[in-house]
């Protein structure tokens, strides 16, 4: 019996792709499916997934939970938990289409939720922390139940399979959003568990990641001190928690977070290219958050409410290409995935290692 994510650490190679309309134009999910399909050989059919932003305008004030259940019992228990903590505004199965290459699907449900004011007040937490803790609680404590998407006006769709098949299975052409990311997975050893597919998400943060980080256990053991539980033992999970911790809890900007997880080398810091204030800050980050330095190859696209961010490890040990066309910005492991949906980009370039690309909506 193969062990699934969470019981064993499984390295994987991958393909990632993403785009955003800075003007906030809503673009159909079929476009991201087409983009990732051009990198078919970077996946091996053991995981594919998508994140779409701006896809639930009619419920944009509610937290949208997407949940996998192994059984109806797990669903009943989880729904009891949800009822105790949230006002459930809407619930339904997520619409899917039978697909010959997608099998063994769990029960896949969607909930639009508002935290119960009394519960929230008595928890003495801010709303997002309350929701995050509820997600971590369900995933950690309720057997057979897994929340894989929990942000507002956004959603993650993932499964075991090639990403283009996963996109068809979830009928992504029926959704439209201002930003999309996609992931095709090439794990080296997994029985294929749906929860182990990517993107990984907490609140509105989603990560698609290509690489295998050598700092994993140092990062994991640090972040777990702050109430996170790395149940899946995947790089993507721990990177998502690092972003959540630094951005939401420590109030650091995404630019600064890049300087922590892909910190400039000391030789660069001392090279004279930075002002004294900047040098002091970089040294402060490398001291205080030294355990959040991420080493080994990675390229990631972070999705968040109102934008995308792309980042490579500081040696750029993984490929990543960016392109611009009008108000659109594209990011992908390979240029072909961009050309497939934007053949006439104004500019195509390869971001340097450790140099973040941060794109936000013009009105944000």
């Amino acid at each position: 019996m193969l062990e699934k994510e969470g019981q064993i650490r499984i390295p994987s190679g991958c393909a990632i792709s993403g785009f955003i309309s800075r003007d906030g134009k809503r673009i159909g999910g079929d476009k991201i499916v087409k983009s990732i399909s051009y990198m078919h050989d970077r996946s091996n059919g053991l995981g594919g997934g998508f994140a779409g932003y701006g896809i639930y305008p009619e419920y944009k004030e509610q937290y949208a939970f997407h949940i996998f259940y192994n059984s109806n019992d797990a669903r009943v228990e989880t729904e009891r938990f949800l009822d105790r903590h949230f006002d459930v505004v809407n619930l339904s199965r997520i619409p899917t289409k039978k697909h010959p290459n997608i099998t063994n699907e769990p029960l896949i449900w969607r909930y639009f939720l508002t935290p119960l004011p009394t519960k929230l007040a008595s928890s003495q937490l801010d709303e997002r922390e309350f929701v995050a803790q509820c997600v971590i609680n369900i995933n950690d404590r309720i057997d057979g139940s897994y929340v894989f998407s929990s942000g507002k006006n956004m959603g993650v769709f993932k499964a075991v399979g090639y990403p283009e098949d996963v996109g068809e299975f979830y009928r992504l052409d029926e959704y439209a959003g201002y930003a999309w990311t996609a992931h095709g997975r090439y794990p080296t050893n997994t029985p294929g568990w749906w929860g182990g597919a990517h993107p990984f998400a907490l609140l509105d943060y989603t990560i698609v990641h290509n690489g295998e980080i050598s700092s994993y256990d140092a990062n994991r053991r640090y972040i777990e001190m702050y109430g996170y539980k790395c149940n899946l033992l995947t790089d993507t999970e721990v990177i998502t928690y690092i972003f959540d911790f630094l951005n939401r809890k420590q109030n650091l900007s995404l630019e600064d977070i890049a300087k922590i997880i892909a910190a400039p080398f000391w030789t660069e810091i001392e090279s004279g290219k930075y002002s004294e204030t900047e040098k002091k800050k970089l040294k402060y980050f490398r001291n205080v958050f030294s355990s959040l330095l991420v080493t080994g190859p990675f390229s990631i696209i972070l999705g968040f409410d109102g934008g995308l961010m792309a980042l490579n490890d500081r040696l750029k040990l993984r490929s990543m290409v960016a392109a611009e066309k009008d108000d659109m910005v594209y990011l992908a492991s390979e240029e072909c995935a961009i050309r497939a949906i934007c053949p006439d980009a104004d500019r195509v370039w390869s971001p340097r290692g450790g140099e973040p690309i941060i794109v936000t909506l013009n009105d944000k």
Binding site: S214, D217, R221, A263, T277, Y284, N287, S291
Partner: protein
């Protein structure tokens, strides 16, 4: 005729064909093993006095000398070994406590040797430190719980006092008195050149060495020898010594014979008096007392210097460390039961304390479980023998290591474990001027620098193989470790998996 109940441990073997009777061995041996018989024109050796320090062997120009174990054996007995029998004879003769020096030499498990490191293959590229930057700089000290912002929204980058190390290795506490002035000078100069720190031990700081203050950790031990305002202000950090791995639970004793003029001035005690460090600090009988001493020292140094609390690794070390982490200390130093000493009761050295590998693993995990790992840095000692031990210590969770024995080896020590006699032929653990001058600090410091450079390079090679290009990504990264031949319980305490898993 007196009866010799026990026999010399060693046999001095001289190749008479090679020996040119230059008498160098005679001049070099402070134990007076070698002598020249003029009448018979022959060199003779008294093996009884030999401690196997290898000085004569190393100095002999014709390679004529060898020291071997005495082949004479008592009747074999797996329970009553020759050593145990000999010790009984000695105590029956003298009525005294057995004394030993340097670390526990017994056959207890060395966990470093049962832990293997990872390397990258295919899914993740190894990194070549000769081609790519590879970083070993570390900071020791408290980290703030939360980022603080200034009124203008910029980040407040003020930090509690911090030690900055070019590589995660420091020289551990060895007092002036237990080792010679030249040994201290070698350590101080090497630390300065390397951008690391050495530690005064509990013997005060010689006036000639105040200039190395920025790379000096000054120790405050139970005897408080040499502790005064200038001393505290001279160092980069202050270390409170609560215990020592070689002799947990007991104090120290530097015999009056070693308290010569310089040492008496440095320790601030009269010449010729015994320097006795009590077992406890007499102002620390509990954890809340420790907190008061930590803050007294911080007050005295205007909160500008980190305070280290050094403890011996004992059974409930994790709970003790947790208490220390909440006491205001910035750094915890933990000394394992194999740590060295200038002199300790043999029974204490060989039977008290626990392995540093297990102590480190449980302390690091406990502090993380309690969410207070960032309150303190962890430095481990006793014994770290090579760069591989350093890498394993860091992956288990240490911020840095202290090395003592390895540093003395670099200065020539051959681990004869006779420091307490004060007749160190290598000029290290002695105060006899004729012996001290054998250790040239100009050469000694260079050998220490070489050693640390070599280790630093090896650390980078091992990190590169793992695909890690900065030591902070190695710290606590236990996934990079696997045990071999360990039990489930040992693996559980170490927090690592078995090889093949």
């Amino acid at each position: 005729m007196a009866i010799n109940y026990y026999q010399p441990l060693y046999e001095v073997m001289r190749d008479k064909d090679r020996c040119i009777k230059c008498r160098a061995c005679e001049r070099q041996c402070a134990n007076e093993v070698h002598s020249y018989d003029e009448e018979c024109d022959v060199m003779i050796s008294d093996s009884r006095q030999c401690v196997d320090c290898q000085r004569c062997v190393s100095i002999c120009p014709t390679n004529a000398l060898k020291i071997a174990n005495n082949p004479n054996t008592f009747r074999q007995n797996s329970n009553w070994s020759q050593q145990i029998m000999t010790e009984v004879y000695k105590q029956a003769e003298t009525g005294g406590v057995l004394l030993s020096a340097m670390g526990n030499p017994k056959e207890y498990p060395v966990y470093w040797d049962k832990i293997l490191l990872n390397a990258s293959q295919v899914t993740n590229p190894p990194i070549d430190p000769l081609r790519e930057p590879m970083e070993t700089k570390v900071f020791l000290g408290k980290k703030p719980k939360n980022v603080r912002f200034n009124k203008d929204g910029t980040i407040n980058t003020d930090l509690p006092p911090t030690l900055e190390l070019s590589t995660p290795i420091m020289f551990s506490a060895m007092s002036y008195g237990s080792i010679s002035k030249n040994a201290h000078e070698s350590l101080a100069r090497a630390a300065t050149e390397l951008g690391i720190y050495y530690n005064t031990g509990e013997g005060g700081l010689h006036k000639d060495f105040y200039k190395y203050g920025p790379n000096t950790i000054v120790q405050v031990a139970s005897g408080r020898f040499g502790v005064f305002r200038d001393y505290l202000e001279a160092g980069a950090a202050v270390e409170i010594k609560m215990g020592q791995g070689a002799k947990p639970g007991i104090g120290g004793h530097l015999p009056g014979a070693k308290i010569l003029e310089d040492i008496s001035k440095t320790r601030m005690i009269p010449m010729g008096t015994d320097a006795i460090s009590p077992a406890p600090h007499h102002d620390i009988y509990s954890i809340e007392d420790l907190r008061q001493l930590v803050f007294s020292l911080k007050e005295a140094t205007c909160y500008k210097k980190p305070v280290i609390v050094k403890i011996a690794a004992v059974h409930n070390v994790a709970a003790i460390a947790s208490g220390i982490a909440r006491s205001g200390a910035d750094i915890i130093a933990i000394d394992g039961y194999r740590g060295g000493t200038g002199a300790a009761p043999t029974r204490i050295r060989d039977n008290v304390g626990i392995p540093i590998e297990l102590a480190l693993a449980s302390v690091d995990q406990r502090l993380r479980d309690e969410g207070i790992r960032n309150e303190v840095s962890i430095v481990v000692a006793g014994s770290v023998r090579s760069s591989a031990d350093v890498v394993k210590a860091i992956a288990l969770g240490a911020d840095a290591v202290y090395i003592g024995t390895a540093a003395l080896l670099a200065l020539g020590c051959h681990l004869c474990r006779s420091c307490q006699t004060g007749r160190c032929n290598w000029g290290i653990a002695t105060q006899r001027p004729d012996l001290v001058k054998r250790l040239n600090p100009d050469i000694g410091y260079k050998r220490l620098v070489n050693l640390i450079h070599a280790w630093d390079h090896e650390i980078k090679e091992m990190m590169g193989g793992m695909g890690i290009n900065s030591v902070e990504a190695l710290r606590g990264n236990r996934l990079m470790l696997r045990g071999v031949g360990l039990t489930e319980k040992e693996l559980e305490v170490l927090g690592i998996q078995h090889a093949g898993q």
